[in-house]
């Protein structure tokens, strides 16, 4: 009984299978189709979190960032939180900008010049491999370890105290390897003939590097810088023990009065707060941070794509 029922039920399925076999003649070809379907599912699963995260953050944070009633929209970014955190996140926004700007001022020249040195002034050899290896190692060091080091070295040993300077220097440590490696990549893609053309005109190595090579590599370097800025902008762990938190914008760079808030730290502090309106503000801050980071990433992407198209 059950057997016949089952075969009856199966008939349409059997039909489909027969059609499939007719189209895909062998087992191997069916396997090919199956593999293709599996991969398509995988890619959907991979990109799904992007939309889930975006949707969740935006669904709660949207009115904080784009609303027009009091305390929302532009006001959300321009008012201080106040003692019970009812205001905006001006402290965090200004803090993040300060930290990132100072970190860039320290990190970018160091890494770009470093890349120029190992790419233009040294032959492949021990120096170059040491620099490349240590940059790769530094790029892989966990952010909390960098934070702990910043605390031990900058805050404690150099007596800078937690604050703007210690926080931004710690961030610059995270920036250096990324910018160095991308700059190196950009310099490497500058054709040798361009340098030779300049040297053949009697230019020194120094002026060739500044006026020809770096200019040609500029878009690539900017891409690397933007990627690094986007990355350190969202870092929390290195700042916990080096920058601290603050409800206002500090007036000093180092010492005890210089504790500074940042967007990621604020999100962390707010989301673990039991009050519902504070959690909403966490989403608003997260949406703001997300928009900034994604715009930076898109610009970097756009530049790098335009450059590769030009070179190809």
């Amino acid at each position: 009984m059950t057997h016949t029922e089952r075969t009856e039920q199966r008939t349409p399925v059997n039909g489909t299978i027969r059609i499939l076999i007719g189209r895909y003649q062998s087992f191997r070809e069916l396997k090919d189709l199956f593999f293709k379907i599996l991969l398509s599912v995988a890619i959907i699963v991979i990109v799904a979190p992007f939309f889930l995260v975006l949707f969740e953050v935006a669904s709660i944070g949207f009115w904080q960032v784009f609303g027009s009633s009091s305390g929302q929209g532009i006001e959300f970014f321009l008012t201080f939180p106040g003692p019970s955190l009812e205001g905006g996140i001006r402290n965090a926004l200004v803090g993040t900008v300060e930290l990132v700007v100072i970190a860039s001022c320290v990190g970018i020249p160091l890494s770009v010049l470093g890349a120029v040195y190992i790419n233009e002034y040294t032959e492949p050899g021990l120096t170059k491999s040491i620099v490349e290896f240590t940059s790769d190692v530094l790029a892989g060091v966990p952010s909390i370890v960098i934070g702990a080091f910043g605390f031990a070295f900058l805050v404690d040993f150099l007596k800078l105290g937690m604050g703007v300077l210690a926080g931004s220097l710690t961030l610059s440590f995270m920036m250096i390897p990324t910018v160095l490696r991308t700059t190196q990549e950009a310099l490497r893609s500058v054709p040798q003939s361009l340098r030779e053309a300049s040297l053949a005109l009697g230019a020194t190595k120094w002026s060739t590097t500044w006026n020809v090579t770096l200019r040609a590599a500029f878009p690539g370097i900017i891409t690397g810088v933007l990627l690094a800025v986007g990355r350190i902008m969202g870092e929390t762990a290195p700042l916990i023990f080096t920058a601290g938190n603050n409800l206002i914008v500090p007036t000093e760079l180092s010492g005890s009065g210089s504790w500074v808030a940042s967007l990621p730290y604020t999100i962390w502090a707010y989301i673990t707060d039991p009050r519902a309106y504070v959690q909403e503000k966490a989403h608003g801050a997260a949406l703001g941070l997300l928009i900034m980071v994604l715009i930076i990433d898109l610009i970097a992407n756009y530049i790098s794509r335009r450059v590769t198209r030009r070179l190809v």
Partner: protein, 350 residues
């Protein structure tokens, strides 16, 4: 005639270069100074620039050395102290109030979280990479790549926020009860236990989501550098697209993919904020995937803020940092060796 002369002068030059190299260091500095004095203005700038650039070039080297030195210096007390010693690595009891600083549970927690994350991210990421490089219709490729690159740019705190607000309640309210009541899975010991969602599996999943962009992007790049002629040779033998992708393209790209996996291992062990928010941070070794777990990065983040006035406690936390650092260095070295090994066995150069 002319060529002979040329080769001779070249040889002479090489020889003289060698002689310069074996000169003593003071002599070399003196030579450089005389050169500098005799040079015209442009050459002087050139030489100054060369020296001036040395410092930035070694910035990352100096930072790494400083990090190693300071972590070592800070971690020394706990390794030297009778209450600590190297045994803390296998000691599972962490109780600073009684001077017990075993860090084994954190190591185990980190490894479990990383294991789950890699277990999810590597197969899934590889599948995505193969899709992107072998199957993806041209029109879809660029948008997909862009989304995946943007995923890599999302800060970990934002992932953490999402996981804390959405994923953790989902695991606590839906996934765990569903798995525990379904007769097919209810008997599996790993699925037991009461949970509020703050768990090992939550950490593993959010970590996997964060690793996926790296794994997909690097693997897809590696797959795309495999020359088309290899694929065509395989098709010409009658292979299907999937057979070619699995047996030829994947195997040719293995060094790059292996490096991607190892690098993401390093990132997984070092990830801090998202993990901290979703794993429950309870001092126990997890027995099921729904048990809370405490990882190495979380203990540092949670306790360094008030432990830094107690020398031993602080030192123990820095010891955890030192272990993390050593692990990350090992991962970087392994990734490099893996690429070199892969190149050699595949007969590729460069």
């Amino acid at each position: 005639m002319v060529t002979k002369d040329d080769s001779r002068t070249q040889k002479d030059e090489v020889a003289s270069n060698r002689i310069v190299r074996v000169k003593s260091i003071p002599q070399r500095i003196l030579d450089a100074l005389t050169d500098f004095r005799d040079a015209d203005r442009p050459s002087r700038i050139d030489k100054l620039g060369r020296v001036g650039l040395l410092i930035p070039a070694f910035a990352s080297t100096m930072i790494i050395i400083l990090i190693l030195t300071f972590l070592w210096y800070e971690a020394m007390p706990i390794f030297a102290d009778p209450a600590g010693g190297p045994g803390i690595i296998v000691n599972p009891t962490w109780d600073p109030s009684r001077d017990s600083y075993g860090i084994a549970i954190f190591i185990v927690g980190s490894l479990l979280c990383t294991g789950i994350a890699i277990g999810i991210a590597v197969p899934l990421g590889l599948a995505g990479a193969i899709f992107l490089s072998e199957y993806c219709p041209g029109r879809l490729r660029q948008p997909l790549k862009m989304i995946i690159e943007m995923m890599a740019a999302i800060p970990s705190i934002v992932y953490g926020l999402w996981a804390y607000v959405v994923l953790v309640p989902y695991i606590g309210n839906t996934l765990a009860p569903a798995l525990q009541s379904n007769p097919l899975t209810a008997w599996i010991p790993f699925f037991q236990g009461e949970t509020n969602g703050l768990s090992l599996i939550a950490g593993g999943i959010i970590l996997a989501i964060m690793l996926l962009p790296t794994v997909v992007t690097i693997s897809a790049d590696a797959l795309q550098t495999v020359p088309r002629s290899l694929r065509e040779a395989s098709y010409a033998l009658g292979a299907t697209q999937s057979e070619t992708a699995r047996k030829i393209t994947l195997s040719a790209a293995l060094p790059g993919i292996g490096a991607a996996v190892i690098l993401s291992l390093g990132r997984a062990v070092g990830e801090t904020m998202a993990i901290l928010m979703v794993t429950g941070n309870s001092l126990q070794i997890p027995y099921t995937i729904f048990d809370p777990v405490y990882v190495m990065t979380s203990i540092i983040t949670n306790q360094l803020g008030y432990a830094f006035v107690f020398p031993l406690w602080r030192s123990a936390l820095f010891a955890i940092g030192l272990i993390l650092l050593i692990m990350s260095i090992c991962f970087t070295i392994t990734a490099k060796l893996f690429i070199r090994w892969g190149m050699k066995t595949r007969g590729m150069t460069g």
